[in-house]
């Protein structure tokens, strides 16, 4: 009796969410997989089954490999640097000091801005010869750089922007974690003669490990999900030096309208995210010290 009531109410309540999630999350995952085995329909010619041709094309596609390696560099630099800065920021504003609120706001403000706006602010910063950065470099006789227009520096210019925007966001989570560490624990360690560095390494770091995991997974997803700045600043150029995977997918899907190949690239991105998920649930959860 009670069970059937639960089934009735439960499924009615879940219905709207289930329909929406089905249409825009589960069903597209399945159709992406399906379409990745088909050619792109052109004019009157319908899409035909071509087996793994799209995958073979992907493996032979130098731009795909470039996008992947760019994305790996991008993730490997932005994630640790912004996490380290976030922790430093959190430690800075955790204690009492003059102007604490203002400092915290300064760190956090870039986070509430849209990436497109951030990109336009930095575009101005990076402008050759009259942008502030180039003028600063000019003081040392290193001026006249087009930082966003040179293959060697363009990806790094985007990395700096990402770190600037993300660090304050991650700081919030570290701040929350730090505030949950009991002060008596730290006092006890200090009485035992531990130095500030020892307290940090032996106490703080292990206690905030769950937060580190949470932030890391978020940062990993972000590194594959956010390409607004690529679209606003470089369009993947010069010479594909700033093409990230999702940007390439967007380009193939909506600039070249090659939907079959775009589906294949989506499948690859889904596999990457699945690996991140498995990494989170399987491996890292066991390595983290919970209280």
């Amino acid at each position: 009796m009670r069970d059937s009531r639960n089934v009735l109410y439960g499924s009615l309540l879940l219905l709207p969410a289930a329909v929406l999630l089905w249409i825009f999350t589960y069903q597209p995952i399945l159709t992406t997989l399906y379409h990745s085995f088909f050619s792109t329909a052109k004019g009157k010619r319908a899409a035909v089954f071509i087996g793994v041709d799209n995958y073979a094309r992907m493996i032979d596609d130098p731009v795909f490999w470039q996008a992947l390696s760019n994305n790996v560099v991008y993730a490997l630099v932005t994630i640790p640097v912004s996490m380290a800065l976030a922790l430093a920021m959190a430690l800075f504003v955790n204690g009492r000091m003059a102007g604490q609120g203002i400092v915290r706001m300064a760190y956090f403000t870039p986070t509430v801005l849209p990436m497109v706006a951030v990109a336009n602010i930095w575009l101005f910063f990076y402008a050759p010869s009259h942008g502030p950065i180039d003028q600063f470099l000019g003081l040392f006789g290193l001026g006249h750089n087009n930082l966003l227009g040179t293959p060697n520096t363009a990806l790094w210019a985007l990395i700096v922007i990402t770190i600037w925007k993300e660090a304050g966001f991650f700081m919030i989570f570290y701040l929350a974690a730090l505030q949950q560490i009991s002060p008596t624990l730290i006092e006890a360690a200090r009485l035992e003669g531990a130095t500030a560095l020892q307290v940090f390494r032996r106490l703080t770091v292990p206690l905030i490990m769950p937060t580190t995991l949470f932030v890391m997974v978020n940062a990993l997803i972000g590194a594959f999900r956010l390409v607004d700045h690529v679209i606003a600043l470089t369009k993947g150029g010069p010479d594909n030096s700033t093409t990230l995977l999702l940007f390439y997918l967007y380009e193939v899907g909506f600039q070249y309208w090659d939907t079959g190949y775009a589906a294949t690239l989506t499948v690859f991105l889904l596999v990457v995210l699945a690996v991140v998920a498995l990494f989170q649930f399987g491996y890292l959860d066991k390595k983290v010290h919970y209280r």
């Binding site: 439960g10 999630l21 825009f24 069903q27 403000t109 509430v112 849209p114 575009l123 607004d228």
Partner: protein, 273 residues
């Protein structure tokens, strides 16, 4: 000696903190500076150049930013309203009406935390075209109307509501809808505020999906409008691009500065699992 050490390090920490803070806001301060000064085809600006609002006037004359703001406002309102209703219903089902397999369904919901709609944009665009909803505000919002994050967050909160309160309400003859609205929702108010702020700032700032779906002034949100404006102006007039940028972030930035504490606390609350 042991008294002197912490005091010293505090000074160092304070200086370090302030230095980093200054470094962090300097791009924004510079943008403000540029937007309020007459353009001389970009920097360098004289330190005592006269202040002006001309850049903002020109931007408003050149692009329909008020309309873009209206579109963003409609989009965010649509998404927030639907998410609150849909996610509350789903979370209530998971907490109060569990049945065989509902745990599995919850695990399935969590997939959307990893695979957000923007990753699936090619297929979602196809779906939207089939529904005839391209270039509409409803279409732009649709993939986000159910949020796994919201369901997750509300479920956590509802689970912490004492069983006795629910029982008491039932003994007084309240039906399931009344129990939800009079017991669960009021107790979850802080979570609703937190989720609301996070979701509003996310969708106010969202860009890629709206860029793909919209094609006209009547639907374009402010992020896409800014990009369209900046693409035309880039390299021509820095002051106008910066003015447009500041204009487009102003509402959210002002709200953030006023409600700073709530913002920070909401993001913290939403992040703790």
């Amino acid at each position: 000696m042991s008294n002197a050490t912490p005091a010293n390090s505090t000074v160092t920490v304070t200086i370090g903190a302030w230095f980093l803070a200054l470094l962090w806001v300097s791009p924004l301060l510079y943008a403000f500076w540029a937007a309020f000064h007459p353009s001389s085809h970009g920097a360098p600006f004289g330190l005592f150049a006269p202040l002006t609002l001309d850049n903002f006037r020109e931007v408003l004359a050149a692009a329909p930013f008020p309309r873009y703001f209206l579109n963003t406002f409609l989009l965010v309102t649509l998404i927030l309203t639907c998410q609150l209703v849909v996610c509350t219903m789903a979370a209530y089902a998971f907490v109060c009406f569990p049945f065989r397999g509902s745990e599995v369904l919850f695990m399935l919901v969590l997939i959307q935390l990893m695979i957000m709609p923007e990753i699936l944009l090619v297929e979602n665009y196809r779906t939207l075209a089939a529904l005839g909803l391209r270039d509409t505000i409803l279409g732009m919002g649709m993939p986000y109307l159910a949020s796994a994050f919201g369901i997750f967050l509300f479920r956590q909160t509802f689970k912490s509501v004492p069983k006795e309160l629910e029982e008491a309400a039932r003994l007084e003859g309240a039906n399931p809808l009344q129990i939800l609205l009079r017991v669960f929702v009021p107790l979850a108010k802080p979570t609703y505020v937190a989720f609301g702020l996070v979701t509003v700032s996310y969708h106010w700032n969202n860009f890629l999906w709206p860029l793909v779906v919209t094609n006209s002034v009547e639907t374009r949100p402010v992020t896409v409008g800014l990009q369209v404006f900046a693409t035309v102006e880039q390299g021509v007039d820095w002051s106008r691009v910066t003015a447009a940028t500041l204009l487009s972030v102003a509402p959210l930035l002002i709200a953030f500065i006023i409600f700073q504490r709530q913002f920070v606390q909401s993001f913290m609350r939403a992040g703790i699992r």
